[in-house]
């Protein structure tokens, strides 16, 4: 049983923000509703007002140009993203990642905005979006702001969004040539279960395709939020792609994370596995970058 609420259906972002202002922490934004209704069923959220943004036109789009890179409207579904020709061409690791979200039923309804605002560190999109240097555009009654995704997540289910703000767009800068990406979702139970380790690697090579000119590693399920493995990135940047380098990087990333032990693995096991996934992920990204 989901507790009672008033459903408000604004027709514009401005109207939605003013409703959120009016009702403060008695209100929550609802998009597809998957994560939200789940939490309301579990009595973790009991909003008196749901501000549905599904009726707001112009938030479901995928745009790309050389100058601005990729811009995705907050109401774009995971299914639209995984099937997008533009994204498959320009950011194939994104298409692969979004294909792994939930099941077809979830992907048909869930939105990228809802996914990011739910801020569960075990969701699939954030590690990849972090590794792609994504930013989000947030709109409030006082104006807009653009926030780096790595600064957006605060804690489990907590973001920097103020109660009267709405995430409207996700932005990903264009990738330089010789860039490749990989996303690994390592689940210790069944294929569809919440994973023990999530790792996204985005690698840019030099013109000779020998040196890891730039490396970005996004991690999920290993901290209260999805994170970037900064120490590991700093180590790998500028190094040649060699076995002993990868080995050292896997040691660094294992030390860099502080996961909790749970049903999906002990602390030690997850630390070991992130090291394994790092080697695999960087290798896959390196191979794709070289093509």
């Amino acid at each position: 049983m989901i507790s009672g609420f008033e459903l408000l259906e604004p027709k514009s972002v401005k109207e939605a923000c003013s409703m959120l202002s009016k009702y403060g922490d008695q209100a929550k934004v609802i998009a597809g509703g998957l994560s939200l209704l789940l939490f309301m069923r579990e009595k973790l959220y009991r909003p008196k007002y749901l501000v549905s943004i599904m009726g707001i036109k112009g938030l479901d789009y995928i745009k790309y140009d050389e100058k601005n890179g990729l811009r995705i409207g907050a109401l774009t579904t995971h299914r639209t993203i995984e099937n997008s020709k533009t994204i498959k061409e320009k950011f194939p690791v994104m298409a692969e990642t979004f294909h792994k979200v939930g099941s077809m039923r979830i992907r048909n309804v869930g939105t990228i905005g809802g996914n990011l605002c739910h801020a569960d560190p075990r969701l699939d999109p954030p590690p990849t979006l972090l590794a792609l240097d994504a930013k989000v555009k947030v709109v409030g009654p006082k104006g807009n702001r653009t926030i780096k995704l790595e600064d957006f997540f605060v804690n489990y289910y907590e973001t920097v969004l103020k109660p009267d703000e709405i995430l409207t767009e996700v932005r990903v800068p264009g990738s330089p040539p010789k860039t490749g990406g990989a996303y690994i979702r390592f689940s210790t139970k069944t294929n569809d279960d919440t994973p023990a380790v999530e790792l996204a690697a985005v690698v840019t090579l030099d013109s000779k395709k020998e040196v890891l000119e730039n490396v970005k590693i996004g991690l999920g399920a290993l901290a209260p939020t999805a994170i970037r493995a900064k120490k590991t990135e700093v180590f790998l940047k500028g190094k040649k792609f060699k076995a002993d380098i990868l080995e050292e990087a896997s040691r660094i990333v294992s030390q860099e994370v502080d996961p909790i032990g749970d049903l999906r693995g002990s602390e030690e096991y997850k630390k070991e596995m992130v090291g394994v996934m790092l080697k695999r992920g960087v290798k896959m990204a390196y191979e794709k970058a070289g093509r």
Binding site: G4, E6, L7, L38, L50, G102, S103, M104, R105, D192
Partner: protein
């Protein structure tokens, strides 16, 4: 506050007056009386509550009924048309692709979606397409065979 909405289910219009917190699966089962759609996990992972909304598979257990207003909903009952079972329903019967039958409505709808997107799927593609529908009885083998049989025709 209750709201009057029009739900189009299996090509029929139903007017219901419901609170906003009603879920689609409950309105389908209790208010409309179509109990083919089942409640399994109630968290969107098992597939028992699967319905088609504008041709797309969705979990009706995580969908506000109000969100379904103005959309075309198809439940398992909608596959039986003009006194005829859908080819997938016939195949599930022929191949014995169910035991308790609880997952079956969702399984059949998911099978329909697989074949609509990919008329000649490989076994791997079928199994991937079914990964959101959990079955505790059959081990899925006969479900795959039934889909392959329909695809082969």
């Amino acid at each position: 506050m209750k709201r009057k909405i029009l739900l189009n289910i299996n090509d029929e219009d139903y007017e219901v007056e419901i609170d906003p917190n009603r879920l689609l699966v409950d309105v389908i089962r209790e208010d409309i009386g179509l109990t083919g759609t089942k409640k399994g996990c109630e968290i969107g992972v098992c597939g028992a509550c699967t319905v088609l909304m504008d041709g797309k598979l969705v979990s009706s257990c995580l969908m506000l009924a109000i969100y379904a207003a103005g959309k075309k909903i198809t439940t398992i009952e909608g596959l039986f048309k003009n006194g005829e079972l859908h080819p997938l329903q016939k195949a599930f019967l022929d191949y014995g692709s169910f035991q308790c039958g609880f997952c079956t409505p969702g399984m059949v709808l998911a099978s329909k979606a697989i074949l609509e997107e990919n008329p000649h799927p490989t076994e791997h593609e079928i199994r991937e397409g079914l990964n959101g529908n959990l079955c505790r009885c059959t081990g899925y083998a006969k479900v795959v065979e039934a889909i392959q049989a329909v695809a082969g025709k």
